[in-house]
């Protein structure tokens, strides 16, 4: 047992008519984090670093982790609608929001539905847009471990890779992935991982400072989709991180954190 207190807490809360697994940690201005298609990966180094300046609020979306799925949520816009009520119930007021991959798509949908409730938006290797060149890697035609490995440019050289994707996952870890994949499948089976109208809807974010972050070598969502996000959101900026794939927050944590902190404090 360590004597220092844990940097984060986990609880089950009632939000928008269902129970939700909620992780919170750090202190400062609140930052809502929307996890990717494999669920919240646990408290990683980038959480620890961002937690120095921000209170991180990390719900498991309905259907992921210990948040039960809701029968009526059949697509990402249903999920976005649910989230707006969940934010009402959380009473967080205007807030900053950051989403990863599928969670980035979700963040974009939520923001276009109610831009007034967010201060700043960060999209990290976000799904949701059909890339003009290349295709979004099909996570459902490979098993979980293969997909996670494909998400990294350099899995062997990434110290936290083994934490996210252990050689021999425990049965609990394997089940956590399968639950996540099932809900990701409900939300994104077809059209696969994108919503055709999203790029048109994004112009509604013209008054919202938006930072787009992409791993240059993303093999899951090609960089060309990041460029469409950047072109579609007036005034947004795109930061491309070298030597990183789909998970720059894990592969290049320092640079990722620097970009996020600079954007949030600016």
């Amino acid at each position: 047992m360590t004597t220092t207190s844990q940097a984060w807490t986990e609880e089950i809360v009632e939000l928008a008519g269902t129970s939700v697994q909620l992780v919170k940690g750090g202190s400062g201005e609140p930052l809502l984090i929307l996890h990717d298609e494999m669920g919240h990966p646990g408290w990683m180094n980038f959480h620890e670093a961002l937690g120095q300046n921000n209170e991180l609020i990390i719900p498991s979306h309905p259907g992921f982790g210990d948040s039960p799925f809701l029968d009526w949520i059949m697509n990402m816009r249903d999920m976005a609608g649910w989230y707006l009520e969940a934010l009402d119930d959380m009473g967080v007021g205007q807030i900053n929001m950051m989403g990863f991959s599928l969670g980035g798509w979700l963040a974009a949908e939520i923001a276009t539905m109610d831009p007034g409730r967010f201060n700043k938006l960060i999209l990290v290797d976000a799904a949701g847009i059909k890339p003009p060149t290349g295709e979004i890697f099909d996570m459902f035609l490979v098993v979980a471990k293969e997909f996670i490995t494909e998400s990294f440019l350099n899995p062997e050289g990434t110290s936290e890779f083994a934490t996210i994707c252990p050689e021999e996952p425990t049965p609990e870890q394997a089940e956590y992935w399968e639950v996540a994949r099932e809900q990701a499948c409900r939300l994104s089976w077809r059209p696969y991982m994108h919503y055709p109208a999203l790029s048109n809807l994004l112009s509604r974010l013209k008054n919202m400072p938006t930072q787009i972050i992409w791993g240059r070598e993303d093999a899951i969502v090609p960089l060309s989709a990041g460029q469409v996000f950047n072109d579609s959101i007036p005034g947004s900026q795109l930061a491309i991180i070298d030597n990183a794939g789909h998970r720059p927050e894990i592969e290049q944590t320092d640079e990722f954190v620097r970009i996020v902190q600079r954007f949030l404090s600016g």
Partner: protein, 418 residues
């Protein structure tokens, strides 16, 4: 006893370099159709249809078809096309579809119409089975796997309603929507053809069949787990308040009969060579793990005792040798004299009312299949009928599976209204 013939209609092309002993093994999703040879395709479709006509001549009660997609081990991608042809070129045998893959149909009104037309043209010889499909089916027709079971149930309810209730009506479901359901074709059999459910894995499906009083057909599984799964059916029937029996159960396994023991063994080995179904144990194909774990396709917890048998080669290794399969009765080959006692053993163990002899598969040739069909007709089928009589194994056409009582003057119907 109802005796049917089945072959999965493999796409046999040795020069492709694939297919078991002849080269690279098949792995789902790794095989491009750029090798497809239309001449071979045309020959094989016609060969398999010719063999069905001969199977009917040899006394089979049923000609069973199945359907898979994007794979060479089964050429029946549009099984209802083959069934339509059989409706016209055969005379007496039931056309047993095991089955249409309900969840992959975006518009099940096509099924309402196609199947009713097949029943009409065959003058009431259709047995209409449903399946949920494997991962490759959902991937090929892009049906959302987590909704597979919901779509299955809704499509079933919709089809039965469209077959049995006067139109027009509207259908506003979770997965299917129609503003005007009024098909101008209705099944020949009243109220509709028997509906059967084949399977190996899902306990949800088996219990659903038992609750719907629909016969369940176990596909090529080992005897002991099959018995256990059949017991789940009987227990569920008891809970539902009716008496199930042989008329509720069917069993499919590999049977090849030949003129000598030596020839039977030589040809029997072809079951596990050639483009056979990699989903089933013992074949020389490799199941793709991602397809077998397609998210939400079947419950990860509610699986049948037979699942291990069905997925024994998950890791892609040929796990059940030909010898083991002979040993455990999942393959039966020999001359009529040696095959008949083995079939008796299976009937005694499982007590099914319907059986399907799976033959002419893998790397077997047309001549292999025709010799076996002739010997089955001359010796095996008559003997099996006698054994079934002695063991009291009525089929779902002898005894109403919904009630456990004989049909009266009405045609066979597997279901009660729920």
């Amino acid at each position: 006893m109802f005796i049917g013939h089945f072959t999965e209609r493999p796409y046999q092309d040795e020069k492709s370099g694939y297919f078991g002993a002849t080269g690279k093994s098949i792995r789902d999703l790794d095989l491009s159709n750029d090798i497809y040879d239309p001449q071979i395709g045309a020959d094989l479709y016609n060969r398999y249809l010719d063999e069905r006509v001969y199977a009917e001549e040899m006394g089979f009660d049923g000609l069973m078809l199945n359907e898979h997609h994007s794979t060479p081990f089964c050429m029946g991608g549009a099984m209802n096309v083959e069934a339509s042809i059989l409706a016209k070129i055969t005379k007496k045998a039931k056309i047993v579809l095991l089955g249409n893959i309900l969840p992959i149909w975006e518009d099940p009104l096509w099924l309402v119409e196609q199947l009713a037309m097949i029943d009409m043209i065959s003058r009431g010889r259709l047995v209409s089975g449903w399946v949920r499909g494997t991962g490759r089916e959902s991937v090929a027709h892009n049906a959302p796997p987590p909704y597979n079971w919901e779509r299955f149930q809704e499509a079933h309810e919709f089809i039965v309603k469209a077959w049995t209730e006067p139109g027009p009506f509207r259908w506003e479901g979770k997965h299917y929507n129609y503003r005007y359901v009024n098909p101008w074709v209705k099944p020949y059999q009243k109220p509709h053809p028997q509906i059967w459910l084949p399977g190996v894995v899902s306990e949800d499906s088996l219990k659903w069949a038992a609750r719907q009083r629909i016969p369940y057909i176990m596909l090529a599984t080992k005897l002991e787990p099959t018995k256990q799964a059949f017991q789940i059916y009987h227990d569920t029937a008891k809970e539902e308040g009716y008496k199930s029996g042989p008329q509720n159960l069917g069993y499919l396994w590999k049977v090849h009969v030949d003129e000598t023991e030596e020839l039977a063994e030589e040809v029997g080995r072809k079951f596990v060579q050639g483009p056979s179904n990699p989903f089933l144990a013992g074949n020389e194909g490799t199941a793709n793990q991602a397809l077998m774990r397609l998210p939400g396709l079947t419950s990860r917890r509610r699986v049948l005792p037979t699942m291990n048998a069905a997925t024994a080669n998950r890791g892609g290794v040929l796990s059940t040798s030909y010898e083991e399969q002979i040993e455990n009765y999942t393959i039966v080959t020999g001359t009529p004299d040696t095959v008949i006692p083995k079939i008796r053993h299976i009937l005694e163990e499982l007590r099914p009312g319907s059986v399907f002899f799976w033959d002419g598969d893998g790397a077997m040739t047309h001549d292999d299949q025709m010799r076996s069909l002739r010997l089955m007709g001359q010796e095996v089928i008559p003997a099996v009928r006698e054994i079934a009589k002695e063991l009291d194994l009525p089929s779902s056409f002898d005894i109403n599976p919904a009630t456990g009582a004989p049909f009266e003057d009405t045609p066979a119907v597997a279901e009660v209204a729920d």
